[in-house]
Subunit: 133 residues, 2 copies
């Protein structure tokens, strides 16, 4: 089952400058700024009202976030939905013919994650996350 | 104050086909499909976990959603944040130099709304909504 909208990730060129921008808009500071070396990104989170805005900056050339900005400019990179049962949800989606980038969960920053293919969701990259209980 | 992430709007070419796609992904049907003639759009809402996914299809040529798809393809069109005081928030943002598309609120589908300029938010079109109390 889909529980809730977990976060919206925005691809940015300069994490510090963008964090100042969103701090101004949202009126709250980011709770954490961290590097995720396995994904070659740095991220900042703004949690409010049960969901988060995540700013994500690619580290070095050739990572997906830098490629995204190169092609499309800064903007919404993906949206993330929290599920209670990631493997069950992936099985349900695969059976329904929804195109998946990941057939099984993999470790992410906040739990087990998997991505659906944007071509099966009107161009939107959707991440599913099952947070640890 | 920003209360919560209200909804994510996704620009689509075919509302009915896209609603079937998202019903499959989310596992829930849309609660309503409605036409908003003043904005030349048709919309479908999927509420879950306190936020909504809104699918939006432009009606006829020359509307902003059709123009968006023409330029960028289908995908996330805007994100909407709920505020408790729209005019106060706009005044705070204007004073901070955040570029606004609307200096004051206007009637939207779910309350008074105003848009910030994407160039001041890393390419993301942000709507603010104050829902009626």
């Amino acid at each position: 089952m889909i529980k809730k909208l977990d976060h919206i990730a925005i691809a940015v060129r300069d994490l510090e400058a963008s964090a100042r921008t969103f701090q101004q808009i949202l009126g709250i500071p980011p709770t954490k700024v961290q590097e995720v070396p396995t994904e070659k990104v740095r991220v900042a989170f703004f949690p409010f009202g049960g969901a988060e805005i995540e700013l994500v900056q690619g580290l070095g050339p050739g990572n997906p976030v830098a490629n995204f900005i190169e092609k499309r400019g800064e903007g919404v990179h993906h949206i993330c939905l929290e599920v209670d049962d990631l493997e069950g949800t992936l099985a349900r989606l695969a059976a329904a013919g929804v195109p998946l980038l990941d057939r099984t969960g993999k470790p992410g920053a906040c739990g087990q994650v998997a991505f659906l293919h944007p071509r099966g969701a009107n161009g939107v990259l959707i991440e599913l996350v099952q947070r640890p209980t």
